[in-house]
C-alpha cells in the first residue's frame, strides 16, 4: 500500500496548502489579468498566474541570487512544504527519491535571454537551465535527495505519471519514499503556441459549460510525499490519504485532440479502478481534467458516461480556480482531491452555467460540505494521447 504523508502546493490560488484551501472554500478564483509574464498578449487574456514576482519567490524560498528560474523556484517551494508536512527532517534515513515533471523547464527565462546571450555573458547561468530536468537536479541538490531522480515530460498528464512511477517504485521495494509531482511556469512560447491552436478563452474559462470557448493557462507546482507501509509503521506516521489506484493508456487518435468517445480516458480510468479494486459506483467524487475546451470536456464526459453509466458521481473541474497548469496540473489537482477527502468537501466547478447539450452532464457548481468522501478519481489527459487517472482514498 502506498500512503500520502505530505503535500505541498503553490498556484494562482495560494502559495501553500492553507491559502489554497481558503480560496477553494471561499470560491475565490485565481484567474485574472497577467501581471508578471512579459507578453504582447498581456491585455487580451486572463491566466492563473502565481501572484509573486521572481524576486518574491526567491525571498519566500529564503534565497538570494540563486539563479534559479521560476519553474525551479515553484518546484522548490512546493517540495519544501511537502517534505515539512510529511515531517521529514533527514532525507537520508530511508531510500528517498524525487520524480518531477515539467513541460516548460527553464524556457521561461531562456526565451527572454537567448537573443542577446552573446553580449551578456551573465545570462549563461539561465541558459544552462533550459533543459527540462535541470529543475529536478537543482531541487534534489537543495534537499539532499540522492537515491533516485528523474523528470517526466508527457504534457498535461506528466505529474500523474510521476505519481504513478513513484507508487510503483515503492510497491517494488526500490524506494521507501518518494516526492512526486510537477511544476510549470507561464512563458511566452507556451502562450503563443496555445493561442495558435486557438484553444484559449480570452475570458474566464467555463469547464463543462455548453458555451465554453477554451482554456486559461496557469502556472504552479505541487508535490506529494508517498511512503511505504513499512516506513509509516516504523515511524508511527500520520498519513493523509492512500494512493489506491492509477492507470495510464494512449488514446491513439490524434496528436493534440482527444477521441470523441474518450477511449484513452476510459481505459485509464478502468485501469485505475482495477488497481484500486473498486467498482465505479464506489467513486464519491471526480476531479476532472475539465480544461474548458470544446474537445476535452465532451470527450471526458463521454468517457465518464461509459464508465459510470447512469450513476455519474459528483464531478467538477477546478481549472476555473487555477487555470490549466500543464505539467503540474495532475499534482495540483491531486492535492485538491486529497483536501476534498480531508475536509469532506466537494469544491465547485466555477463559471459553469449551461449544461452541455450533447451529454446533458452537469458538474457540481456550488461548494458541497459534510460529504463523506472515501474515494476520489482524478483525471489528467495530455497531448500525444497520454491519458492518466489516479484514485485517492481516505485512510
Amino acid at each position: 500500500m502506498v500512503f500520502v504523508t505530505g503535500i505541498g502546493i503553490i498556484s494562482a490560488i495560494g502559495k501553500n496548502v492553507s491559502e489554497t484551501l481558503s480560496s477553494l472554500l471561499e470560491g475565490r478564483t485565481g484567474i485574472g489579468k497577467i501581471n508578471h509574464l512579459q507578453t504582447i498578449h498581456k491585455n487580451n487574456y486572463v491566466v492563473g498566474e502565481v501572484n509573486h514576482s521572481l524576486q518574491e519567490l526567491e525571498s519566500l524560498a529564503g534565497l538570494k541570487n540563486s539563479n534559479y528560474n521560476r519553474t525551479t523556484l515553484l518546484s522548490l517551494l512546493a517540495t519544501r512544504e511537502a517534505l515539512t508536512s510529511a515531517g521529514i527532517k533527514n532525507v537520508s534515513t530511508y531510500r528517498t527519491g524525487f520524480i518531477s515533471a515539467s513541460s516548460v523547464g527553464g524556457m521561461c527565462h531562456t526565451e527572454l535571454l537567448y537573443k542577446d546571450f552573446l553580449e551578456h555573458k551573465s545570462h549563461k547561468n539561465f541558459i544552462d537551465t533550459h533543459y527540462t530536468g535541470v529543475h529536478a537536479t537543482d531541487v534534489v541538490k537543495h534537499f539532499g535527495i540522492i537515491d533516485y531522480v528523474t523528470t517526466i515530460s508527457t504534457a498535461c498528464s506528466s505529474a500523474a505519471n510521476a505519481i504513478m512511477l513513484g507508487a510503483r517504485l515503492i510497491n517494488n521495494n526500490i524506494l521507501d519514499r518518494v516526492v512526486v509531482g510537477g511544476t510549470d511556469a507561464l512563458c511566452k512560447f507556451t502562450f503563443n503556441g496555445f493561442n495558435t491552436l486557438m484553444i484559449l478563452d480570452k475570458e474566464w474559462c467555463k469547464p463543462f459549460d455548453d458555451n465554453r470557448k477554451g482554456l486559461n493557462l496557469g502556472e504552479g507546482a505541487a508535490y506529494l510525499v508517498l511512503e511505504s507501509e513499512r516506513v509509516v509503521k516504523a515511524e508511527n506516521k500520520k498519513t493523509i490519504a492512500i494512493l489506491s489506484g492509477y492507470g495510464n493508456a494512449n488514446d491513439a487518435y490524434h496528436q493534440t485532440a482527444s477521441s470523441p468517445d474518450g477511449q484513452g480516458a476510459y481505459a485509464a480510468i478502468q485501469k485505475a479502478l482495477a488497481i484500486a479494486n473498486l467498482s465505479p459506483n464506489k467513486i464519491d467524487y471526480v476531479n476532472t481534467h475539465g480544461t474548458g475546451t470544446a474537445n476535452n470536456d465532451l470527450s471526458e464526459a463521454t468517457a465518464m458516461k461509459n464508465i459510470f453509466k447512469k450513476n455519474i458521481p459528483p464531478f467538477s473541474s477546478t481549472k476555473a480556480f487555477t487555470g490549466h497548469t500543464l505539467a503540474a496540473a495532475a499534482s495540483i489537482e491531486a492535492v485538491i482531491a486529497i483536501l476534498s477527502i480531508q475536509h469532506k468537501t466537494i469544491f465547485p466547478n466555477l463559471n459553469c452555467i449551461t449544461p452541455m447539450q450533447d451529454t446533458k452532464l452537469f458538474p457540481v457548481t456550488s461548494l458541497q460540505k459534510n460529504i463523506e468522501i472515501n474515494h476520489v478519481l482524478s483525471n489528467s489527459f495530455g497531448f500525444g494521447g497520454n491519458c492518466s487517472s489516479l484514485i485517492f482514498s481516505k485512510n
Binding site: 486557438m198 490524434h254 485532440a257
Partner: protein, 84 residues
C-alpha cells in the same frame, strides 16, 4: 479565378506538407476534410494561417472556417470576394 484555384492547390500542398500529393490530383470541388484530402483540425488552423499570410484575410473563430474550407473552390470564392 482559375489561376487562384491553381495557386491555392500548390499553396495548400506546401503549407500542409502534403508531400505525396500533386496539384492536378486535387479536385477543386471535392471536400477537403473528412474524405478527399482527409485533413484534420490542425490542417484547418494552418489554412487559417495561409489565408492571413498570403491573402491578408483573418479568421477569428475556427467555427467560421468550416464553410470557407469546404473545398478549394469555396476557399477561392471566399478569397476573391473578400480580398482587399
Amino acid at each position: 479565378m482559375e489561376n487562384l484555384i491553381e495557386n491555392l492547390k500548390k499553396q495548400i500542398i506546401e503549407q500542409l506538407n502534403l508531400a505525396e500529393v500533386k496539384p492536378e490530383e486535387i479536385n477543386a470541388s471535392a471536400p477537403l476534410f473528412g474524405e478527399g484530402l482527409g485533413l484534420d483540425s490542425i490542417d484547418a488552423l494552418e489554412l487559417i494561417v495561409l489565408l492571413e499570410k498570403s491573402y491578408g484575410l483573418k479568421i477569428q473563430e475556427p467555427k467560421d472556417a468550416k464553410n470557407i474550407f469546404q473545398s478549394v473552390a469555396t476557399l477561392a470564392e471566399y478569397i476573391s470576394s473578400h480580398k482587399k
